[in-house]
Assembly symmetry: C2
Homo-oligomer: 538 residues x 2
Amino acid sequence: MYDQLRFDYLSCAGHPHLHTPNFDRVAALGVRFSNAFVQSPICGASRMSFYTGRYVSSHGASWNGFPLRVGELTLGDHLRHVGMDCWLIGKTHMQADAAGMERLGLRPDSEIGARQAECGFDVWIRDDGLWGQGPDGFYDERRSPYNEYLKSNGYTSENPWAHNANASVDADGNIASGWMLSNAGKPANIREEHSETPWLTKRAIDFVDHVEEPWCAHLSYIKPHWPYIVPAPYHDMFSVDDVLAPVRHEKEREAPHPIYAAYMDGKIASAFQRDDVRKTVIPTYMGLIKQCDDQLGVLLDHLEDNDKMQRTLIVLTSDHGDYLGDHWLGEKDLFHNQSVKVPMIIYDPRPEADVTRGTVCDALVEAIDLVPTFVEVSGGNAVPHILEGRSLVPWLYGDSPHWRDYAISEFDYSPTPQSVELGVDPMDCRLFMVFDGRFKLIHSEGGFRPMLFDLSTDPNEFFDLAERPEYKAVIDRMYSRLGEWGRRCSQRVTKSDDDILNMRGTSTRKGILPFLVDGSEVPENLTAAYRGPAIKKF
Amino acid sequence: MYDQLRFDYLSCAGHPHLHTPNFDRVAALGVRFSNAFVQSPICGASRMSFYTGRYVSSHGASWNGFPLRVGELTLGDHLRHVGMDCWLIGKTHMQADAAGMERLGLRPDSEIGARQAECGFDVWIRDDGLWGQGPDGFYDERRSPYNEYLKSNGYTSENPWAHNANASVDADGNIASGWMLSNAGKPANIREEHSETPWLTKRAIDFVDHVEEPWCAHLSYIKPHWPYIVPAPYHDMFSVDDVLAPVRHEKEREAPHPIYAAYMDGKIASAFQRDDVRKTVIPTYMGLIKQCDDQLGVLLDHLEDNDKMQRTLIVLTSDHGDYLGDHWLGEKDLFHNQSVKVPMIIYDPRPEADVTRGTVCDALVEAIDLVPTFVEVSGGNAVPHILEGRSLVPWLYGDSPHWRDYAISEFDYSPTPQSVELGVDPMDCRLFMVFDGRFKLIHSEGGFRPMLFDLSTDPNEFFDLAERPEYKAVIDRMYSRLGEWGRRCSQRVTKSDDDILNMRGTSTRKGILPFLVDGSEVPENLTAAYRGPAIKKF
């Protein structure tokens, strides 16, 4: 998994200037899903859906730092249940439910507690890549294995993640922080081999070389997520000529939906509305991706050289995209494809998948489909009463399974400046996307009108149709889908469908016999306990 | 709490032949809520909503014996958090999540594990009153404190719950089981003082006399739930003359909704369609309630005699009703008022409640409102990100709070014979009721049409309007409400609204500074960690 990697910043997905031969190499070996959506276009919530196989409203961790409730089942629980270990190498952005763990007496240093605290993974290495530091201390208070690595390699500052990996150095020898977009074009003040992406690739290779199979590894890169800065030679590998024109339209600024307007007016969007910012940042973003691609090549070569490619299933994806100025926005958060659609490339080495190698699948895929896919690949049974996604294996095998009609994504903006500006209560700061392959409806709680786009006539999502009366039937249909989804059975996690089928009728065989008129309705052995022997009269 | 007590089988609620002076006594001291609905008209699911303060689709324990997931917060968790103990005396019908507890390493004999296994209560005594016995053993495999009590009082059979408390004895000295409706009119073969309701009242009085205050006690009677049999003198206190005519209409049998039809065709309904059954069972049901009322009097007198009435808040309610042949049905399960509406009488001793004593409140109350009520009474803060109900205290104080527009109830019929007959997959065996005080919509998953009743013109709910085109707008409006409810924020249980308001902007003070163009946008102290001192160039 990459972080903040747009679906269309790969050459296999059509980027005209960014050549990513190693992503393309996996795509040529497998299937590229061209309609893959995340359950929420923000790191934490999206990842909790990737890891639980459940919608955001089902697991509840709807924003960065909202703890995943203790006991929520994750990929690790499902895989270990069928004998497959499940490891973390990199970022999760998971916040442990410390209050819930304390309530249940779970110590973080116990095996069970540690897995609860780490989203069900066994930790090979965890690094969320957010070693920010300010007047109130570090954003992430854990020990930073990456900072320790840098320090052991001669980077002597207090926080080399911030001062070297994510900063340049100016002519006077002062730190030029990567937090400032104006510094994005400068080379990070670090040897390329020590920067985050190669560092994590080395950890992954260590893992591959040392951990007994079978395993599932969540290799989770921090990049191309901001801070937007990259070491040489990647910092000047792309130029302003490689920057695509922003996908935006003046029409979007006319009477926009209030929430979209609040986002367009925000600090982030304002920055990315500036040409100078885009021209500085985007070549760097491309450089970060290019470095990811090169490191992917290193890892693929290592697997090949060690004869592991033919027994390793590989999934390449991202937790969300990046607007980069499209739709007058920066970052992610809303539901335009630049934000909510992600790369999803799956290589399955098994011969059954030979029929689909190098193909593209346009089925409506959701991030939550990966856990059921991994469970099936590991030999487990489907558990649809817990996992809300569906295994993608049939697509890999060239089947055309009966599939979902619509994809759902959600966003909770309650902790953001937009919620303050709009004056919306936290509980109402919730957005829902329903996309059926053609129409995309966005519903907002809090009394706002919906938004509607027709991607068949408006693939760029410029023209909001929601207020046009001729679309009322479409809107009703989309709301009907959202309603159906809202009624889904998502919390009956302690009882499977098979359990239910098996329990039918069992209570009568255990003496619960209501509504017999005289007992003749059932076999005699069922009522035996309620007849003689003769009993004393009280 | 009583079990299976219909809302209208109390004299304060208008029953013409059943005099319940002790229920009426509490109603005269407090407020009777005349529109109180359970979240599911079946014991287990309804109770899990009463105990968690959450809708069935939120806690997931949608049928009897479906375990309440480990870690789900209950009344006990909320009350102990504010220094109030929370005890169980009687029935919960709760199934522990043994698999979840094992996964988290929680032993049932630890304090935390025991509370998890007992729905958050500390157990004074637990007795679910379902000591059925058949060829596959006991329905409930726990030890039965009630059977132990009976044995110590000279009832020598293997299962005196079944053979004495819930059976009569015939002229030949043979057991005449209370499971057979034909035996309902006979006196139970037990001294009245030893039957279940007086037994539990004695346990409650022991509790009141011995447990240090403050406490919350869930005194949870098994009756008037079936088996329908009651000891003398209650067995012949009511006669066929006291049996009200069935509330049913031939129109209901014409082209009924398929699920309603399956219920009307079932074994239970067929029994209660028989006049002989109604005339035998209903006087007994009334006798069981009369006994409950007398025992309530014993308990109230004890509280008064010990000067505890003025510091004890009392709530009288039930987990669901009983059709008793109305609508051609027996039992509960569906959403006619006979099934889904319950008594709800609250006596609050505080002087602020003096203004409402003896009044009736017709607000749309749900079972989930009780946990927030108890939290408020205990001095706790509202936790609306966990508790989906709302405190009833404002109504007790004579306020008219802004209130909900509709009540929701749900029913999962996946383990029932109807699901088999209809051939519906477990996941689709789900019904939803939306009632706005006038219209009642019933939605069924699985492709069935809805049902609609207008209680303003059809208070008996005989005439299903769902197929009449002039009601399309009403149906759309009710579906819109169901849709809104389906999108509710029910799982963000680890982060309160206050937590969210307090986290806004904190990340910038911990060094997360994305999307600054040059740093001049924020105070200098926020960027201090990213400027000098001069750094070595790599």
